[in-house]
Each structure stands twice: as structure tokens, then as C-alpha cells.
């Protein structure tokens, strides 16, 4: 054993062994760095990107302001202020809808929680900003994201499922809620 160790020492065997890997890499050079933003990686089929609010095909907001997304959100991103639709008494909607995207984990629980599929996860991810406050999105901004990310819209609920009975409809003969 001692003799073999001595031979290895005087011939720099370990160094040669290491150099072999180096030389191999030099000969078979293949870059793995993606030249972002000139190059982009293809996204997975179920990629969870920026959140968006969606509309029906007639342009009305899908959101009924049920606050279930707010309840489902583990990091308190969402804040919903719901009320009666003006001019359409007893119909519920989100008067204000905020998402603080600085906190979002993109877990998608809100999308799963939504009973009317009003939330969608887009494939957008380029949301770096210089001012964090710009990541505090309101309803209009979220709807705009939805508009550009989901150009194909669903029909109103009652046309999709004829048996949904009276789900969030307005009544003409009822006075507005007093304030």
C-alpha cells in the first residue's frame, strides 16, 4: 500500500484526476445559462402566474363578492368589500377588490375557492417593479389583466347550468338598500 501511495504522490495522480474532469468540460462545452430576457423558458402546462379577475362574455364581472378567496388566502393577499349592485337591488358584487401581490405565494387556493370561476391564474410573471406599491392591485387593474390574458370568455352562469335557480339575481320591484 505504502509503495502505491508513494507512486501516486510523485506522479500527482489526484491532480491529474481532477484535471481530467476539467479538460473534459473544456472539450465538451455546453452553456446552461438562459439569456433572459432574450431567451425565455417554456412554461409548464399548469403554470401559476399573475392572478386576474375575469368577465363573462357580455362583459359583466364574474365576481360576486363572496369573500371566499379572502378566506382561502393563506397570506392575506386579498381584500374584498362587497355590497349590493347599484341599480340592481339584492344582487351582490365586489365594490372594491384588492390584491397585495407582494405577499402572494401563487398557491392558487383563491382560484380553487372561487365558486363562480371569477379568478384565473395567467401565465404572466414579468412583474418586477421599482416601487412595491405598484404591486398593490385594485379591481380595475386585475380585470385588465384578465381581459388581456383570457380573451375567450364564458357565458353567464344560467346559460352554463340551467338548474342553478336564482343565483345572485336582481329584482326590479325592490327599492335600493338605504344608507
Amino acid at each position: 500500500m505504502k509503495f502505491r501511495d508513494w507512486i501516486k504522490t510523485i506522479t500527482f495522480y489526484e491532480i491529474l484526476l481532477g484535471m481530467k474532469e476539467t479538460i473534459k468540460h473544456l472539450v465538451h462545452y455546453k452553456p446552461i445559462t438562459l439569456q433572459y430576457p432574450h431567451e425565455k423558458k417554456p412554461l409548464a402546462e399548469n403554470y401559476r402566474g399573475m392572478l386576474a379577475l375575469l368577465r363573462y362574455d357580455d362583459g359583466t364581472e364574474k365576481c360576486v363578492g363572496c369573500d371566499l378567496c379572502e378566506a382561502a388566502c393563506p397570506s392575506r393577499v386579498i381584500r374584498v368589500i362587497s355590497t349590493e349592485v347599484p341599480g340592481e337591488p339584492t344582487k351582490r358584487y365586489a365594490k372594491e377588490y384588492y390584491m397585495d401581490m407582494t405577499r402572494c405565494l401563487f398557491c392558487g387556493l383563491c382560484v380553487q375557492a372561487c365558486p363562480v370561476d371569477a379568478l384565473g391564474m395567467t401565465r404572466e410573471y414579468e412583474w418586477a417593479v421599482y416601487d412595491k406599491r405598484k404591486l398593490h392591485l385594485n379591481k380595475e387593474q386585475l380585470l385588465a389583466i384578465g381581459d388581456r390574458a383570457f380573451p375567450v370568455r364564458e357565458k353567464q352562469l344560467e346559460f352554463q347550468h340551467p338548474n342553478v335557480a336564482y343565483f345572485n339575481v336582481s329584482f326590479k320591484d325592490i327599492p335600493e338598500k338605504a344608507n
Partner: protein, 898 residues
Amino acid sequence: MANQESDKFVTITVDGITARVPPGTLVIEAARQIGVMIPHFCYHPKLAPDANCRMCLVEIEKIPKLQTSCSTPVAEGMVVKSSVPNVEEARKSVLEFILANHPLDCPVCDQGGRCDLQDFSHEYTPTTGRFKELKRIFPKEYFSPLIETQMNRCIQCLRCVRYCDQVMDVQALAPSGRGTMTEIKHFSIHELDCEFCGGCVQICPVGAITSRLSMYDFRPWMLKRADTICTYCGDGCQITIQTKDNELIEVNSTHGAGRNNGDLCPRGYFGYHASVHADRLNHPLIRQQDGTYAEVTWEDALELIAERFSQIKLAHGADAFGGLITSRCTNEELYLFQKFMRVVLGTNRIDSSARYGHINGIQALRRVQGTHRWTVTYEDIVAADTLLLVGTNITETNPITGLKVKEAVKKQGAALITIESLLPIRGTISNITTLASHHVPVHPDYFGLAVLGLIKSVLEQGLATASLSERAPTFVQSIRSAVGKVPWETVERHLGLGRDTFVEAARTFSQAKRVIILAGQGVLRAPQGSDVVTNLLDLLILTGHHGRPGCGLGTLAEENNDQGAVEMGAVAEYLPGPSELGDQTARKNLSKIWGDEIPQSPGATLMDMLEEARTGRLKAMFIVGENPVATLPPQAKVEESLDGLEFLVCQELFLTETAKRAHVVLPACSYAEKDGTFTNTEGCVQSVRRAMEPIGESRPDWEVFSALSLLMGNPIEYGEAKEIFKEIRSAISGYGLLGPSATPPRIKDEVVDRYLQEGFKTDVEVRYAFEQENTQPDEMLTLASVQSLFHSGKFSTRAKGLLQIQASGFLNVNPVDATRLGLADGDPVRLSNTRGEATTKVKLLDRVPVGVAFFPEHFDQNIRGLFSLETDPQTRVPYFKLTRVRVDRMQEEIPGKG
């Protein structure tokens, strides 16, 4: 022994757990006691079993079919199984049928998250239904501005209908239609007009009936709850104020909670917005030279007050100060206010709104039986055999005490004698006289005469207890001779009712085992209030009920802490306790606790203070939450009195008529924003808890008194309201059994003896004398300023919910009078008498007695000018609730009142 016990209890086994329960218990209740929850919709402990929802089916051994546990009473040895496959299969089917038509709009339903149907569906059904058919859809009908119905969600359990009938006795709701098309409706084509107690909203197990007031503003899991006490009347109902982000969302009350057992009235259920009205004062205000108010900091305001108070004290002495506090404050604040006035300013010139009537009852109770509280509780009312109501109009003034009376009559079969100025006619709201077995309809002037008639009848029929003739022969004789001086003819001429009316009532009253008398505002706030209460106590003594368990007299408080105000010594004649101002032991004890002397000078009551202010003897007043300018009629000259003061400080929620005359106005917290205790009319001290952060810069009243005392160099400091309560407990022996059930005091036998031997003699002739002559000319009506079910004081007129039920005052007259005077519903009328005139509109109301008109005291201040003002010579209570007016139809419309 063993036999006796098994008579009292039966053994029942539910899901393998054995327990012994009283016979007659329903299986569902027995299971609940054991700890097995049987799902149900239509069952509710307050209601008679209906067994219509079929959700509570259980298997009972030896009974072939499944039984509804809500309608099956337990039997000895019964073995109940609630979670066997058979039962679960049945539940599944029941739910499948219910869900066949349910719209499943849980996301937008306000009940979602606290819905029985939702919970049970999650627990007992598969997630998909087999029904392919279209769901039933009801056309939406407008129901009411406050109560929203969504009949598509209804599961037809009829809890609302039964609650409205069995508990509230209103019967505003009814089911219409058959089978799945059953729909809950009200009995008219116009919108729902009922008591608006919110009971149907609270009892609905699904979201079919919800509150429109908070609709869509919240989801149940967002709400922060605080159990506190309602501030609208003396009943002391426990309410749960629910807030979201420091915003009031809704108020409700849990079944079994508080003295009210979860029942509320419209004031409690829909009146909560008053304390968050936009007019709330946010900053301390100091009046400038030009009469405008400048917003200042607390430091500036308090320093100015301390400086001016000190100057006035130096210049004019301690008795140049007067203090007035509202009974809507907590016990802690009332206590600290009187301590501040007595120790820091050094005067006994203190009064509170208990002066408007509640003091009358307390003085009579103290005099005859030595207690300042009821000797009975709400439970005693429910358990009573016979109830006597005098001048209460209890369903409107104290609705929850009224519910106890309704329960006693409807469920326990008690006899009810009512001496009320109401006709026993049903209306949109309940009327206690319709439940009476003996109703004595009287003109509001003559409650005392009717009581006298009852006593006279008791004595004439020889119904007075025999032992009393031995114990106090002179007492019985004097009363006999005193009532003998008022012949039946006089009674008949004034009441329109003679001897016969009282015979049966007197007999029922005397022969009952458990008798309770309730005296209301009609007695306490009318001349001789204290005397009539004393006479009612005489009646109890005469019939031998006085001092028996479950028997007693209760006076109904109008404001939530009238009782506490007197107990805390926030009135001129009492120190905390209440002890007489001259009571040396009490003085010694208090000065030891306070570390300061109690002023010697006599106190001055509200009317005396106003008089002194007018003559210039009183230089400064500290008014907390009270609004005498808008409460007392103009001939009290409150404005003149207050304007003559050198310095007036008001601590208020709003810039009221009184606060507008103040030099400094301090913003105070409402009941929802502070901690403390209220004492209800039955003497139960209950916790008030902070439900939300103070609005603006407002501060709890006690903090202000504490801060002022510091600035005036005589610090009385506390860290929190609890510390004050601790001091109250040390200052008043036997005080403060905080808890769900009040322990009433016992009558003091030595006081009763003293009263029976000597005490009664001083005024027995006066109390039973009747000199009043009916001088009402035919064209005049008696105008009574009464409390409405939908409002309390002026405070509730800022609650948007209540304003939707009743936004203005109407002159309620009987249709007979209306025909006589040529008036129709909605007609504008001019009311006039020698004092002035006012205009309003007429509303016909069947229950108003002929010759009388009611006007709610909360509205239209110009009507106050018509009332006479009379101050009680003994108790110094100002009486201003009755007057006579001419009512004329006006040709032209009243401007601005269309």
C-alpha cells in the same frame, strides 16, 4: 327515597350513553344534555315542537319506525340510536329533498358560514344531488325595508311563523301555498308592518330571512364579537355587537344569553347605528366669542374647564356647581361623576335622568320594604300565577319584560290583570291587554284611581289577609276608611267602570299564590307616581302576598341604567348604596374609602338646580349626556337657566340642543366603545364590553372625570373601568353579583313593620284621596307623550334602521274620535291649548282609548310646548307627559312634511 327519585327522573340511553332526565323532556333535549347533537331545523327550545322538517329522525328500540326526536318525550328505559345506518339513510333522504329546491347560492347568502343547512349538508350528504328537474322559483315580493326574504332558500321549517306567534304574539307571518310551494308571507299586500323584533331573522336556520340593514356587508367569519348590554331600555338585554374592521355590522343575541334569553326588540336589533351616526362629536369644542365652536385638543379643553371650575369655586363656593348625568352611562361613570362632584367640586347638587320617574318607584320601595331593587326576577314573572300591570304599555316600553309576561300568560297559563290606557285590540304590534284575563281600561290620568278601586274591592270583598288585621290593625282600618271616602260613584264617573269591573280582578289577585305587580311609565311619570307605587305595595300587603316567595312589585325603568344611577348615588338625595345623604355610617364609610370629606350641604334636584341657575345662585353646570333643553317643556325655561350660567360644560355624543349652549363640549364614547356595567330594571348588574374603538377623539366619560380631577389638584385616578367597579363593591356592601341570574334582595321586615305601625300614617289620607275632577271638554283630547316601540329617547332617532320603521311622530287617535272630529288617516292637524299650538299628522290607531291621543315623545319638539309641567312636592320629579289639547283639521298641507 329511591322511589321518589325515580318518579322525578327517567333513564334514557342515547348512542350508548345513559343519563337520567326529568320526565317530559324531549328526546332531542335529552340527547343534547348527554352530548349527542341530533341535526334539526324546525325544532327550537323556545317553540312548541312541530316536527315538520323530519331531520331529527332517530331510531328508538321497540318502536318499529323512525321517530322525530323533537316531538317524542322520553320514557323510562328508552334506548335511542342516532347514528345507525338506518337513521343516516333517512337524514340523507330528507336533505336530498330539501336541497332539491335550494338554490345553493351560499356564496352570496349572508347566512353562508353559519347556516344549519350548509353544516348538515356537509356532514350528512354526498356532494352531488340526483335531481335533474328545474328548481322551484318564487317571484320576489317586496317584504320590508329591514327584513329581507329570499324564499327560494326557505326550507319551510316555519320557525319564524311559530316564533312570531308563540313568543312575540305578533302573528305577522304565515305560510301560504302547499308542499314545496309553501312560502312565508305577511298578511297584507303592502310591505311588512310588524314589531320588527328581528326574531324571524335570528331564528331562521337558513338564509331565507336576513337583515337588509347589513346585507352583503360581511361574511360571518369576518366578524369580531363583543357581548354587551343594550342601551335602549331598562330591560338590560344582552346583545352581541359584531364589527368588521371597527365598523358596526350587526347586532344579535344568542339563545340562552343574558336576561333576555336571546330575544330582542326592534330597538336592540335594528337600532345599533345610532352610536356611529355621522354627527358624532370627534373633537373637544370650545365656544368662541362669536358663538361658533372651535375644535381644540383635549389638553386645552380640560385645562380651560379646570381653570374655570377652580375660579368659580373660589369665587362662589362649592354650591355654585350643579351636575346632571344621563342614566345611559355605566355604573362606573355614574359613580365617578358623583364622586367627582362631591369630592373634587364639593357639592351634592347632582342629578340624573332617573329623576324623570324611576326615583318615584325606588322611594316607594325603600319606604315600604327597605329595598331599592325588585324583590323578584324575570324568572318569577314567568312562574307567576297572576300578574298585575299598571300603566306599563309593556310591549312598547319594556318589550323584553313584556315577553316574560307573555310567556307567563301564554305558556304557563298565568292570569293577567291589566290597568292600562289601551283598548284590547290587536294591531300590527302586540298589545299586552289582548292577553289579559281582566282588563281595566283607564284614562291615563286615573291609574291611581283604578288601583284605588282594586284595593277598595279587595277590602269590600273581605279578601284582605286575616293575619294582617292582627299584625297591623290600624293600617287596615286607615286604608279601609281612606278608600271608603272615595265612593264607587266617583270611580265610575271617572273610569267609566264600576264596582263590578274590579270584583273578579280583585278575587283573582287575592287568591293567587304567586303575584307580581309591574308598574310602568304611566304611573311613575305621572303626578303622585310615588304614591301609586306605595298604594300598590299596600295592596300586596293587604292580600298577604308581600314578602312571599315569588311575589313582589317591580317598577319598569325607561333608560338602561336608571336603576344604577340611583344605586350609584348620582341623585341629589342619595349617596352610593343608595344611602340617605344624612346617613352618618354611610358617610363615614365613604369618606374613609374616598379619603375625603363628603359635603354637608343638602343636594338639589334637576328642577331645583334649574331654578337656582335662573336666580343666579348656581354658576356652573356639568351636564353629561343629558339634554334637558329638548326633554323638558318650554315653561321649565331650561334655556334661560343654562344661558344664565357663567360656565357650562357638556359631555356628549352629539351637539344637542343643550350642548349648543355649552362653553365647552367634550366628545364622549357611546356604550359600544367602552367597558363598564349597567344595572337593569330588575337589579341585575351586567357587563358592558367595548365592541369597537372610540370614534374620533372621543373618550369614555370616566376617563374625563379622572383627568379633570387631576387637573383640579384632587386626583381620583383609575387604570380601567374595572378598578372603579372594585371601589364600588367596597363602597356598597353586598353589591355586584355579576352573573346571568340576579339574586334579588329580600324585603326588610323591620322596615315593613315600621311602615305598618307608623310609617303609613303620614300620608295615607293623601295617597288615597281623590280630588281630581274630569274637566275635559268634549272637543278636547288628552294628549299623552308616550314611548314608541321603535324609539328610545332622542338617541334612537339617529339610528337609520329605526328611522325606516318610524321616521316621524304621528298623532295616534281612536277612529271613534277621528270620526267625531272629522279626521281621516294622514290628515294634517293643529293641536292647540292655552300654552300654544303645534302641527302634526293624524294616524288612526284602534288601541288608543277614546278621548285620548298618543304622540311619541321622540319627535317634533314643538309639541312639547303644549304640555303642562308639574313638579312632585316630595320626590321632585317633573311631570310633563299629559295635557289636554284641541285637535283641528288643517286645510293646508304642513310645509315640509309631505
